[in-house]
Amino acid sequence: MTGPGFPTGPDLPSGPVATVDLRAYRRNIDRIRTRVAPANLMAVVKADAYGHGLLPIARTAVSAGVGWIGALDLATALELRAGGIHADVAIFAWLLGPNDDFAPPIEAGIDLGVSTVEQLEAIAASGAPGIARVHLKIDTGLHRNGADAADWPALVGRALELEDRVDLVGVWTHISEASDAEDTVAIERFHEAIAVAQRLGAGFGVRHLAASAASFARADARFDVVRVGAFGYGISPGGGITPESLRLEPVLTLTAPVYAVRDGIARVAIGFGDGILGSAAGLMEVAINGTRHPIVDVEIDTLRVAIGTTTVSQGDTAVLFGSGSLGEPTLQEWGDRLGTIGEEIVTRLSPRIPRRHIHPGV
């Protein structure tokens, strides 16, 4: 038996379905906004909204009053604009490729996260009629991108020289969350970089540093905007921190039909070709009719599930993960048992799995 809202009976599909509860996402967004106020929330929707479906998630965030959307790259940012996320919502893109054409995003009013003078030059030379909205990134210790402290004055200086092409909207960084002490150092470095920029004549209306975990844990990390992806989807960082302990709820339920039963094995129509990690064999379970059964093998299109003497029929629905209300494991359990994080489990799901969005417009 499956609960209302999940595919079952005559509507049973031949493969997996990801059911995305937009009302649950909306409740998470509301809780996050309350928690981080007076800072503003940037809802991060990279990687097809962590596999939850880009446009329905972004539209739900905007309808909840969120004024910032984090897109990742220019293609995603432009897809959001084309999908109706209009210009009074800021869309932030920061993974800039060396061959990117900056004219379309500048014309679409996309906020650009910039780490190098070369990126500034490419933006200034784009030929777009408008002024580019730019957020300069300082590296405060994560050592991925962002300008080193030594290069920072030159980056700020060049942005100021290009003032007819570049609007200096924001300053930002990204922290490692290796320890509270190291994050404190990163926050201090962020303040120092802002002070350096101010002495050079730069003013930033928007300062942002924190992602999900720091946005909840540290008031001194929030600044003006926090960039929150995982928590919006009810994905917690693990290590004993569960969605419930943060008062967040899972948003996505993954189901697939049982298509054959024989010799104590149920064959479920989902496999590694749908994005299920092969390492789940022997470690994870699925719920069928409210009872958990172990996954014994992960094939390209099939899970083989040991059901013992339990009665399971062709056409029953197997629940892989969700809120737990149908007896199924949560995403947290998948991440913990497979030695990874919930984000990998959901972003790995195949784009070919249909996403059913329930409770829209609330």
């Binding site: 991925r144 991108n145 064959r267 299109d301």
Partner: protein, 247 residues
């Protein structure tokens, strides 16, 4: 970049290149070994991530005319192609046909250790940032990598949302400048960092996850072995998520 380059389509930051000629060549070898009409090409999961329609055309060019798909809706990839038989192997509306003999799955795509069969997928991404760090500096979330001495890093635009297993963190290597470079720190959702040591790279350089071993590139089998997973799962996960370029 010169002016003439402007007409060349922008290089995607990350991509899976599919060599359809390799699939055709593999199909020919499998048909010659087993006999015409006795090879069933497995197109499960969009052709193991290679593109079911493109794979089917390439397999037909190599003499295969029988195909299997996992689910009824996947059979649409074969619409209009000259097939002798299409079998649906699973799905609740399918007859549940037991197809065992003659199935060509991973071998069709060159995902086995058979030396005669060529790998059809090549996965690579561009360097999108470079940086030098000092001894003691950590890299990426949780600082699970710390430099023992001054070293150069390249930020590569591919991550676990692209199908690159997060378990590659601090374990697997990508080829940059012809040399295998270890992943430094945790693989993130959309980027990872590799350690270049005293060597350097430039933004726009290519980092090869796996490609054609006959050209000196790391193979999908060694990538899969470094992660203790299968080449079939590796290729399928990448192919489903990355922009595919067919050649």
């Amino acid at each position: 970049m010169t002016l003439t380059d402007a007409r060349i389509p922008a290089v995607p930051v990350r991509s899976a290149r599919i060599d359809v000629a390799a699939i055709t060549a593999n199909a020919r070898i499998l048909v010659s070994r087993r006999g015409s009409g006795r090879v069933l090409a497995d197109l499960a999961a969009d052709g193991y991530g290679h593109g079911a329609a493109e794979t089917a055309k390439a397999a037909i060019a190599g003499g295969i005319d029988r195909f299997s798909v996992s689910r009824v809706e996947d059979a649409m990839a074969l619409d209009g192609l000259p097939t002798a038989e299409v079998i649906v192997t699973s799905g609740s509306r399918a007859p549940g046909s037991a197809v065992e003999s003659g199935v060509a799955g991973p071998e069709l795509y060159g995902l086995t250790d058979d030396p005669d069969l060529r790998p059809a997928m090549r996965v690579s991404a561009l360097v999108v940032g470079v940086k030098t760090i000092e001894a003691g500096d950590g890299v990426s979330y949780g600082h699970t990598f710390r430099a023992v001495s001054r070293t150069n890093l390249a930020l590569v635009g591919i991550g676990y949302a692209d199908g690159l297993d997060r378990s590659a963190s601090n374990v697997a290597s990508l080829q940059v400048g012809g040399i295998q470079r270890r992943v430094a720190g945790r693989v993130a959702m959309n980027v990872l960092v590799v350690d270049l040591g005293s060597d350097t790279a430039s933004i726009g350089d290519e980092a090869v996850v796996f490609g054609d071993p006959s050209r000196g590139e790391p193979g999908v089998l060694s990538w899969a072995a470094s992660l203790e997973t299968s080449a079939a799962e590796v290729a399928t996960a990448f192919g489903l998520h990355l922009p595919r370029v067919f050649s």
